[in-house]
Each structure stands twice: as structure tokens, then as C-alpha cells.
């Protein structure tokens, strides 16, 4: 640490808050109300020159190398400070693979030598900006949608629901629909697909979706869009594709599950006394939830499912939704930033000494950390 870094910087340590998502990583400092940057969770491989997502690892060693490069970029390009001897707050999903979190801890503690690491579950911390402690949290991210109820500040993990219906599924669907109606165009890059999805597509209303599912829809679709591709070609995006690409979220799969049943199933698994409260405190986060019309449609679908026999024992009459004081894609990060500026960091954080003693990260799934001490 150079001398001109200033004495103030030593006494008042900056806490970096990182939320490594499947598609985008949110990075910022604790005590601030928005992340400094939201960047793609990918890193350029030095050997091959290929850009790789950090979740596309082959093994632990490969992931370690990817994360070393990625964290280097986060600190020296965006956070602009040395990671050594500084605390860090990591926001992770409760369903994060063990290999990923263990390797991340190894990279941060052994390679970058952070002094302390506080790992926070995203479903819990996203309630901090709302100042509520009981809510049903639905996170619609890139690979999957996860619903976990949080009751009195505790995530009820046994009620978790997850389905692989999120951005990635929409991208796949959009790609097939577009190649079907644009002859001659076979390979559209993932990022172009995302751009088309974000700029042209939306979630249509329930009424129109029902009409579309009929054999002969009697409605006029929205207008088609000519999307310029690679400078010379044009991609035609029909109105029907624009409206119906998100329908996979609400179509029941073979197990009769979809986005709306996830929420209701999660509520069903929770104690009767909490069900009404959960249904009246629904928090939706994740970048995919920012799609125009998504929340409206989800609400309609919830009411529709409620009428079916499966949920007849639920005595819910209405659903209420929270609107966090943030954009949906960084709600969890914001919660982490609020947690990070409290004393919780020093009370509950895992220090480097403790990590090096045990060489592992505490985990809710590990019985060693779940033993009740009297």
C-alpha cells in the first residue's frame, strides 16, 4: 500500500460488495445506493483469446484461473483498489454450487488475500432495502427462476422452488422462432439475441396470450420489427414472436409447473399462519423481471392458478407486490451494500485466519455448520 494512499483510507476501510450473477456481475461499495458497474460475468481467456463466461468452467482448476482473471478485472478496472487486507461482501444464491463458492473463497483469500469475507444469501438481503422481514422472494435471473420464502428474517429453504425458466430459456426460444421465420440466418450470437429480446420483446397480457393459444387467433398482433444484423442483413421479428416469446414462463411443463405455480407451491410448503402474509408480500427481482408487462402477467397468472383445484386449500384472496427502491437487477446487491456498512461484517464475516484454519466456507447444506450448540 503506497504512502500517498492517505491515512484516511486505512482507518476507514472500503468494503467491496460483489454479486456475481450468471450473466451479469454487480460491483460496488457498501453504503452506496447503486452499484458502480454492472458488467458481464465473463473474462477473456489469455491462452485462446476466447471470451468465456465464468460459469462455463471445466473443473476446479479451470474455474480458479477464470476467477483469478475475473476478480483482477473487478478490482483493478472497476473498483480501483487493492484487494489485499480489505473486507469483501459476496452476495450469492442459496443454490450456488459448492465448487463455485469454495473456489471463489479460495481465490479471494489465498490469491487476493482479502481480510474478511461476508457471504450473504441474495434472497434474504434483497429485503433490506424494503425494511420488511417476511416476504416471498422470486429471483428470475439468467439460468433459473428461484422462489424462496423468507419468514421473520430466515429463508425457509425447505420450501424452495426452482425452474430453469429464465433468460436463457427465452434466448433459446427466441433463437428457434427467429431462425424459423428468417430463412438463411442460422447463427445469431447470444448477445444479439439478448439485444433483440430487450429492445423488442415484452410479456403480453393474459387475455391476448389465451387468444394466441387458439387455433385461429382473432386479434391483430403488434407490429413487426426490422432488426439490422451485421450491417448488411435484416432480421424480421414478427409481432407474434415479440409478444409470445416469454410464454414459456407461464406454460405448465410436464410436471404441471410454471412461474406462477412455483410461487403458490412455495407458499403451500410454509406454515399456515404465514401463508397470507407471504402472499401479500411478494418481492420479484432479477434482470428478467424488468421485462415490460412481466409483473402484470404474473399477477394475472397467480389469480388464475388460484382458482384451480391444486390450490383450493389456500385461503388466499389477494396478492400484493413490493416495489423495491432500486432497479430489479440490482435489488440483491443493494441489500448486500446495506448489510455491508453495518457492524455485521465484523461480527459474522469469515476472517482470513479462520478460513485458513479450516480451508472451507461455512455452508447451510453442511451439517457441521448446522449443529445446534446449546
Amino acid at each position: 500500500m503506497p504512502l500517498y494512499e492517505g491515512i484516511g483510507a486505512i482507518t476507514d476501510k472500503l468494503v467491496v460488495v460483489i454479486d456475481i450473477g450468471a450473466a451479469y456481475t454487480k460491483l460496488g461499495f457498501s453504503g452506496e445506493f447503486s452499484p458502480r458497474c454492472i458488467i458481464r460475468s465473463e473474462v477473456k481467456c489469455k491462452d485462446t483469446g476466447r471470451v468465456r463466461n465464468i460459469r462455463d468452467y471445466e473443473n476446479a482448476q479451470d474455474l480458479y484461473d477464470l476467477l483469478v482473471d475475473f476478480v483482477h478485472m473487478l478490482y483493478f478496472k472497476y473498483a480501483l483498489l487493492s484487494p489485499k487486507d480489505r473486507p469483501v461482501v459476496i452476495i450469492e444464491s442459496l443454490l450456488c454450487p459448492t465448487i463455485f463458492r469454495e473456489t471463489l473463497a479460495k481465490v479471494l483469500f489465498c490469491h487476493y488475500e482479502v481480510s474478511m469475507m461476508l457471504v450473504l444469501p441474495s434472497h434474504l438481503v434483497c429485503l433490506a432495502p424494503l425494511a420488511v422481514d417476511t416476504a416471498l422472494v422470486l429471483d428470475v435471473g439468467y439460468t433459473e427462476a428461484i422462489a424462496i420464502p423468507v419468514c421473520h428474517g430466515l429463508p425457509v429453504i425447505h420450501a424452495w422452488q426452482a425452474l430453469p425458466i429464465a433468460s436463457q430459456a427465452v434466448h433459446g426460444n427466441l433463437k428457434t422462432l427467429l431462425t424459423a421465420c428468417n430463412t438463411g440466418i442460422n447463427s445469431i450470437s447470444e448477445w444479439t439475441i439478448e439485444d433483440i429480446k430487450v429492445r423488442c420483446c415484452f410479456v403480453t397480457t393474459q387475455k391476448r396470450a389465451q387468444e394466441f393459444s387458439k387455433a385461429t387467433p382473432e386479434i391483430t398482433t403488434c407490429l413487426e420489427v426490422k432488426y439490422p444484423l451485421e450491417g448488411s442483413r435484416t432480421l424480421t421479428i414478427p409481432g407474434k414472436v415479440r409478444e409470445t416469446v416469454y410464454e414459456i414462463f407461464f406454460e405448465e411443463d410436464n410436471d404441471h409447473q410454471c412461474m406462477s405455480t412455483m410461487i403458490l407451491d412455495a407458499i403451500l410448503k410454509v406454515n399456515v399462519d404465514l401463508r397470507i402474509k407471504l402472499s401479500e408480500n411478494i418481492v420479484i427481482m432479477g434482470g428478467t423481471a424488468m421485462t415490460p408487462g412481466f409483473k402484470n402477467r404474473l399477477k394475472d397468472e397467480l389469480y388464475k392458478q388460484l382458482k384451480s383445484d391444486r390450490y383450493s386449500k389456500l385461503k388466499i384472496t389477494k396478492f400484493k407486490f413490493h416495489s423495491p427502491p432500486s432497479k430489479d437487477n440490482y435489488t440483491a446487491w443493494l441489500g448486500g451494500a446495506i448489510y455491508g456498512c453495518t457492524e455485521l461484517l465484523s461480527m459474522k464475516g469469515l476472517s482470513r485466519e479462520n478460513y485458513l484454519k479450516e480451508n472451507r466456507l461455512p455452508d447451510w447444506a453442511n451439517m457441521k455448520d448446522n449443529l445446534r450448540t446449546l
Binding site: P2, Y75, A131, C222, K320, K327
Partner: protein
């Protein structure tokens, strides 16, 4: 230089086990080991703006959220914005004496986005005073943050008090006399101190209220055509995480992100291997222990067509970058040696868990000799000793054997003046003529025999390796040692010779 650094046909093995070309390696003069960008500790040295080259102290950079106060980036294409001047009519056109006013606006020279597009009023000063936007939720979030801070602090205090109570062993005053402290205070006439558990609780803001109605689907999406030029892309949204504008009318100029100068520090001896000058305009270094200044450089001159199982000639050129004469010896490369060495280390140190070698080092003392005493002084205040990560095994398939010559050869010191001296070489070096076939100033070309393994197929890449041992003159003087010290340094070199063209 691109032909040297562009392709890595000659790679050196770093101490950490990663293979890199010599241009990407460091050489720590204090522990006499090769280091690379992966196994050194990177540190942020100074912040600067890449456009105006202004140097910002880190505290100021922190205050400005790592952004330059004067420079702006285009929100549309992320290039730099320039300030443009324009003249407008005087404030009161009736006054004949009034001169036209100069106003300024921001313009992107690449995509022609301008601050006038989004209705930002023109400024009368060059440097701006451009309006800043605030987070609309800031007040509410600040309240919530203060509440959480208060709750956790209270929690911590209660925990501390609990611990304190447990530790109390001696009898309290109350037990002996039956008079409580508060009674005593009242009698003496002092104001009563409130009970610690009855402390005012932190003010809690109202919890957020959930609503039944949510954002509706905007009707115009169904009826109006989409103009792609008016809808922002993901990149344009995400560079402004706080607002994430959906339409281009809401784009706002972005303060330019600062850049940093980095210094690199050896993890095992805590000395800098590279340290740039503080001034952002300078491209020089204060400390630059790059491997290409200390370790002889190897280049492939030529190699005979490679055939499986057949010996062919390989010409390598060695050049000595140092000011001291060196002797180069060839040794066979042993990849297995690494692993045995590691396992020895592991057995030595019982506390090593899994695959990390945790060498705990004492922080450097103030009396220690170093090249930068001021930073050392500071280091002892805050720096924790580094953790040394265990080297990984070298992952390269060596598929050709190099016949290791028994004789050694000398490389004279580098002499920049000799480069321009055409008078021929005057040094009298007794060379093994079988080994050294050409020599000029600090360079020499040697001939080696290389045999690709027999089981190779045509088109396979042939990699051969050898260990180069050279005499390194350590010019660092310590308290005990005033004289430069000679030592033998070994480094593994791997040469990619190209593809196999045929078999025997």
C-alpha cells in the same frame, strides 16, 4: 518488438509453474526467482484520468466515486465527449451594444450525440457545472441504512454486555449493602443514568408497503411501431446502473471512469518487482525488475524439418542482457522434480492443508534493507505478510528430447556501444566449436540435437525443453555483503519447434 512478444514460441517456466514468454516475466532480485503476473501481488498505486491525465489522490478519487470531475463519456457509444462552443444572440436583442454570448455543450465526435439532444441546457463556462442527477430513493435508503446500522450496533453492544456480566467475579456493591447504584446516585444528587436495556431504540422507518397493482404493460407497445434508434441497448442501460434508461431521451453524460497505475510485489519477500512513476504522464518505472533485463534471452534461429524419432539440428541464439559476464550450462528438464519437491515441502510443514503452502512470514522490520524505505515504513504499519500459493505442476507435453551438451559456454556482458562497432570481435573465448557456432558481442548461437519422440503423428506440435543454468551476479548490497555476489540460477525453457513433417 511484436515478433518477439507476439508469438510465444520460447516460453520460460515461472516459479509458480506457468509458462510465459520472457517479456511477461519478472525477476525478483531479492529471492532470485522468476515471477509472473499471476504469482505477484498487484497493488493500486495512483489514480488518474485517462483523458485529461489529471492525477487524483486516492482519497479524492474515492470521494468522486472513481470518476473524473471534468471529463465525460458519451452515454450512447461510450467514447469521450468533447466540449463544443457555440455563440448565441445576446440576452436582450434590442440592446445594440450587447455582444453575442458564448455557450458550451457536450458533443460526441464519434456518434454525434450531444447534450442538446436530451435537453440539457447549454452552460456558460467551459468546465461545465453540468447538472448532476440524484437517486430519488436516497433519503429513504439512508434512513433504512441508519436503522440497520443502529440495530446491529445495539445487538453488538448487548452481546458485549452479556460477556462483561459473565466475567464479573467479585461481589457487587449492591449485594453487600442492599443499596443499588441508582439509589445511591439519587441520594448524592446525581442524575440517574438510564438502564442500558431501556436505551432508546433506533428509529425505525416504516416498512415498505406492498401494493396489489403492479406496472401494467404499456399499451403503446402493442400498437406503435418500435423505432430501434430510440430504444437503448443493454450496454447503454448498464453504464448507468442507477437509472438504466429505456429510451434515448433519458441518456445522460457519464463521468469518465478513472484508471490506475499498478505496482507489483513479490509475494515471498515483499519487495516490489515493478513500480511505475507516480506521474500519469510518465511511462517510466521507478522499479522494473523485468526478466528480460536479468535472464539470458533464448531465440530460435532455425530448426531442421522435424521427423519422428530422427535427430535434427536446432540452432538457438542466446543473448546476455546484464552488465556481467555469464556462463550458461545446459541441464535436462525434469517435470517430475517439481512434484517431489512439493511433496517434500508438504511433509515438512504439517499445517499445510489441502494444496496451499502457507508460509507465514514476519512483517518486514524497519531496519531491513530495501530499495524504498518510505514505503517499507508504511508497510510495517498495515501490510500483512502474503500467503504463498503452492506452485502448480508445469502443464506442457514435452515430446522431443534435447541432447544435453556437456560443455558450457560464456556470454560476455552487454555493451551498447559494441552494437555499432564493426571492427570484428576481439574477445578471446575458447569455445567448444561443436557447441557454439557463431558469436558476436553479448550474443552466441549454439547448435543442439533434438529428437522428436517416435510415437508422434504428422502435424503434431513438437515441444522440447531444457533447463538453462546461468551465472547471475547479484548487485544488491546488504549490510553483511558489500560485494556483488555470483550465484547460479536455473530456469526451465520450453521451445515450440513447430509441427512434425514426417516420420523416419
Amino acid at each position: 518488438m511484436s515478433y518477439i512478444i507476439g508469438s510465444d514460441v520460447v516460453r520460460y517456466a515461472c516459479t509458480c509453474g506457468i509458462l510465459k514468454p520472457i517479456s511477461k516475466l519478472y525477476f525478483c532480485r531479492h529471492c532470485l526467482e522468476v515471477r509472473c503476473g499471476f504469482c505477484v501481488c498487484h497493488e493500486v498505486d495512483s489514480h488518474f484520468c485517462g483523458k485529461c491525465a489529471e492525477n487524483l489522490p486516492s482519497s479524492e478519487a474515492r470521494l468522486k466515486k472513481n470518476r473524473c470531475g471534468n471529463c465525460y463519456d458519451c452515454p450512447s457509444c461510450h467514447q469521450q465527449l468533447t466540449t463544443r462552443a457555440a455563440t448565441v444572440g445576446p440576452k436582450n436583442p434590442e440592446d445594440p451594444k450587447a455582444t453575442p454570448r458564448k455557450v458550451f455543450y457536450l458533443l460526441c465526435l464519434l456518434c454525434r450525440w450531444s447534450s442538446r439532444d436530451v435537453g440539457i441546457p447549454d452552460q456558460s463556462a467551459v468546465s461545465g457545472g453540468w447538472p448532476e442527477r440524484e437517486n430519488i430513493h436516497a433519503n429513504r435508503l439512508q434512513e433504512i441504512q441508519d436503522m440497520y446500522k443502529g440495530i446491529v450496533l445495539l445487538d453488538k453492544q448487548q452481546k458485549l454486555e452479556k460477556d462483561k456480566k459473565k466475567q464479573r467475579r467479585y461481589m457487587s456493591f449492591t449485594d453487600r449493602t442492599g443499596i443499588t447504584a441508582s439509589m445511591l446516585r439519587k441520594r448524592v444528587g446525581l442524575p440517574d443514568i438510564p438502564h442500558p436495556l431501556l436505551k432508546p431504540k433506533p428509529k425505525e422507518p416504516e416498512p415498505a408497503v406492498a401494493k396489489e397493482d403492479v406496472e401494467e404493460l404499456p399499451e403503446e407497445l402493442l400498437t406503435k411501431p418500435v423505432n430501434l434508434c430510440e430504444v437503448t441497448t443493454m450496454e447503454q442501460r448498464l453504464v448507468q446502473p442507477e437509472w438504466q434508461p429505456i429510451t434515448v431521451e433519458k441518456l445522460f453524460p457519464i463521468h469518465k471512469q478513472l484508471s490506475v497505475k499498478r505496482s507489483q510485489r513479490c509475494r515471498s519477500c515483499e519487495h516490489n518487482v515493478s513500480k511505475p512513476e507516480y506521474n500519469p504522464n510518465s511511462i517510466k518505472f521507478k522499479i522494473q525488475l523485468f526478466a528480460c533485463f536479468h535472464i539470458p534471452e533464448v531465440r530460435i534461429v532455425t530448426v531442421e524439418p522435424l521427423r519422428a524419432g530422427k535427430t535434427c539440428e536446432l540452432l538457438l541464439k542466446f543473448s546476455n542482457p546484464t552488465q556481467h559476464q555469464t556462463v550458461i550450462t545446459f541441464l535436462p528438464v525434469t517435470l517430475e522434480m517439481e512434484e517431489t519437491k512439493i511433496s517434500e515441502q508438504v511433509t515438512e510443514d504439517k499445517s499445510v492443508v489441502d494444496d496451499y503452502l502457507l508460509e507465514k512470514k514476519q512483517p518486514l522490520s524497519l531496519t531491513g534493507t530495501g530499495s524504498q524505505p518510505s514505503s517499507l515504513l508504511h508497510a510495517s504499519l498495515s501490510r500483512q505478510p502474503s500467503i504463498t500459493v503452492k506452485p502448480r505442476p508445469i502443464a506442457v507435453p514435452v515430446v522431443a528430447d534435447i541432447t544435453i551438451p556437456t560443455s558450457t559456454f560464456i556470454l560476455p556482458p552487454r555493451d551498447d556501444a559494441a552494437e555499432y562497432d564493426d571492427s570484428g570481435d576481439t574477445h578471446n573465448i575458447q569455445d567448444d566449436s561443436k557447441l557454439v557456432i557463431w558469436r558476436k558481442s553479448n550474443k552466441a548461437v549454439v547448435k543442439l540435437q533434438v529428437t522428436p519422440k517416435e510415437d508422434l503423428k504428422i502435424g503434431d506440435e513438437v515441444v522440447a525443453g531444457f533447463t538453462m543454468q546461468h551465472i547471475y551476479v547479484n548487485t544488491i548490497t546488504t549490510v553483511d555483503n558489500k560485494e556483488p555476489q555470483k550465484c547460479e540460477h536455473k530456469v526451465k525453457v520450453f521451445v515450440t519447434l513447430g509441427n512434425l513433417v514426417g516420420s523416419e
